[in-house]
């Protein structure tokens, strides 16, 4: 375990070192992701002020859940980018995965450490700012449980999104190239999770409840944290399922990943 962590730390160090080689380009990358994604929110905020509320939620309330989701996705995209199916596909196609398999270290660890994208700090900062903006605009009825649940929710989201990336990477063992369709659940899922999810029509909600259980990691916890009425009339305990669902997803994703590796056949090139 300690050996594994040391190895991971070492791989990260190399990554960070190489990514800081072009400081100007690094700063531009950092700023661009923060500004562009930030503009998404500003555009939405400007639009919302025209309409006052969306599904009964004010701008501050939407910012609260939008910020948490954004922060978690940014963090995940930094830590789990080794499993980013956009970059993992070419690794499989070019046969580079075979090299990893030959090395005397845990394969999951190697993939995890193979990419650590520090420019995602931009997205994390942007998410944090939106979250703080949200907090400044709402009167929250804080309790100890709520204070503890916010960071736990964020960690759950990180693991949840990470699981989706692992599943995405695993599919490339068979497809050899990235499947754009997975973006529906990763990037699209994160977008849907940024809004009060009861506004979506039933079929979309069903997809994000039963197929990919995103709703347990944003809408239900937010209903509890913000003290909002729930037009979906779900039982109160579903607000607390986020960590359970996240662990379950991670377990499933890792099982699928191992299954994929067992059945992996090199592209041979």
């Amino acid at each position: 375990m300690i050996h594994a962590l040391r190895l991971l730390a070492r791989m990260y160090r190399v990554q960070i070192h190489s990514q800081l080689q072009y400081p100007l380009s690094f700063i531009m990358d950092l700023l661009s992701s923060a500004l562009i994604l930030g503009f998404f929110f500003v555009a939405f905020a400007l639009t919302l002020t025209r309409f006052e509320s969306i599904g009964g939620w004010t701008l501050g309330e939407v910012a609260f859940i939008w910020g948490i989701t954004e922060f978690s996705f940014g963090t995940m995209d930094m830590v789990f980018s080794g499993f980013d199916y956009d970059s993992f596909g070419p690794i499989i196609r070019k046969g580079q995965f075979d090299q990893l398999l030959l090395r005397p270290a845990n394969i999951t660890l190697q993939v995890l450490g193979s990419r650590f994208v520090i420019r995602r700090l931009g997205r994390m900062a942007e998410g944090l700012l939106i979250f703080l903006f949200g907090l400044s605009r709402i009167q929250l009825d804080w309790s100890l449980l709520k204070i503890l649940y916010v960071p736990l929710l964020s960690i759950s989201q990180i693991l949840f999104f990470g699981s989706l990336f692992i599943i995405g990477a695993t599919t490339t063992f068979w497809t050899m190239e990235r499947l754009e369709i997975l973006n529906i659940f990763t990037y699209g899922g994160a977008e849907v999770m940024s809004y009060p999810m009861h506004i979506f029509p039933r079929p979309i909600r069903m997809i994000f409840t039963y197929l990919v259980p995103s709703i347990f990691l944003s809408y239900f916890p937010a209903v509890y944290l913000l003290g909002k009425p729930d037009p979906l009339n779900a039982p109160a305990f579903v607000s607390f399922l986020a960590p359970v669902i996240a662990m379950l997803m991670l377990w499933l994703a890792l099982r699928f990943w191992r299954f994929g590796i067992r059945n992996y056949q090199s592209s041979g090139s």
Partner: protein, 263 residues
């Protein structure tokens, strides 16, 4: 057949062969169109119209932007840049047609291919799920078709210019990501510009990005007609001419400087 037309045809066919990628892209864009449409419907919440934009118009807007993504490919294109880095450009510069024209042909073929098997089916399926606004007259259709062709020319000459950065720096990818991101923000791809404060919307549609994405949609939805429509087309023509001239100028300077790598 002229080399230009042959390039278009080859590229068009190549685009059609990526069947799985096209279907996968289509479904993704369609789902995003549903997400955005749902958000807009929730925002309007019983309201009839805002700034001349009706709910139905806003929903159509969500479908149209997602339809145009594959065709315009406005914000993600590093193909030309790649050839500078891997040395393929050496052979491309020797082709029997101008380097810019060659890539223009490639892009027109790609765009028409995407239009046929990705964009059109997407919009048709989207129209099955929602009541949408369609152009009311033959002339309006004609103006729309003209303006999405102009939009492609703007999109291409803009992307070509961004890629030209590779002639000067080994890290044009970072610049590209930055600039493409910035252009995305002013295009109205995310939410209809009509819902923004007036000054911001007016500014955005004067940029090449607004001109490339938003003006065709305004024409389609009938938000601009008559003199305003003509003005919109003129803004597009202005950007095409300006970007084409800039491309030629930067390219001619870049080629003189270029050091071909690899081989």
């Amino acid at each position: 057949m002229s080399p230009f037309l042959a390039t278009i045809r080859t590229s068009f066919r190549r685009q059609l062969t990526y069947r799985a990628a096209n279907i996968s892209g289509l479904l993704t864009n369609l789902m995003f169109a549903f997400f955005r449409a749902s958000v807009l419907i929730a925002l309007f919440n019983e309201r009839e119209a805002v700034n001349g934009l009706t709910v139905q118009g806003a929903v159509t807007y969500a479908g149209l932007t997602q339809t145009l993504i594959g065709y315009l490919s406005f914000f993600h294109w590093f193909d030309m840049m790649q050839t500078v880095y891997d040395g393929q450009i050496g052979a491309d510069l020797l082709r029997p047609l101008n380097f810019f024209t060659y890539w223009l042909g490639i892009d027109i073929g790609r765009a028409f291919g995407a239009l046929l098997i990705r964009s059109l089916p997407l919009f048709l399926v989207f129209a099955l799920f929602y009541n949408i606004t369609l152009p009311g007259s033959f002339l309006q259709w004609l103006a729309f078709i003209l303006s999405i062709f102009f939009a492609l020319l703007i999109s291409f000459s803009w992307r070509f210019m961004v890629n030209l950065a590779a002639f000067w720096t080994p890290n044009a990818l970072g610049i590209g990501r930055f600039v493409f991101g910035m252009s995305w923000t002013f295009s109205g791809f995310f939410l209809p510009l009509a819902l923004f404060p007036r000054w911001l919307a007016q500014f955005a549609r004067l940029t090449p990005f607004g001109a490339g994405v938003y003006i065709p949609i305004e024409i389609f939805l009938g938000l601009i007609t008559g003199k305003e429509l003509l003005q919109g087309i003129l803004i597009q023509v202005f950007w095409i001419i300006l970007l084409l001239l800039l491309d030629q100028w930067i390219l001619s300077r870049g080629v003189r400087k270029l050091v071909i790598q690899g081989g």
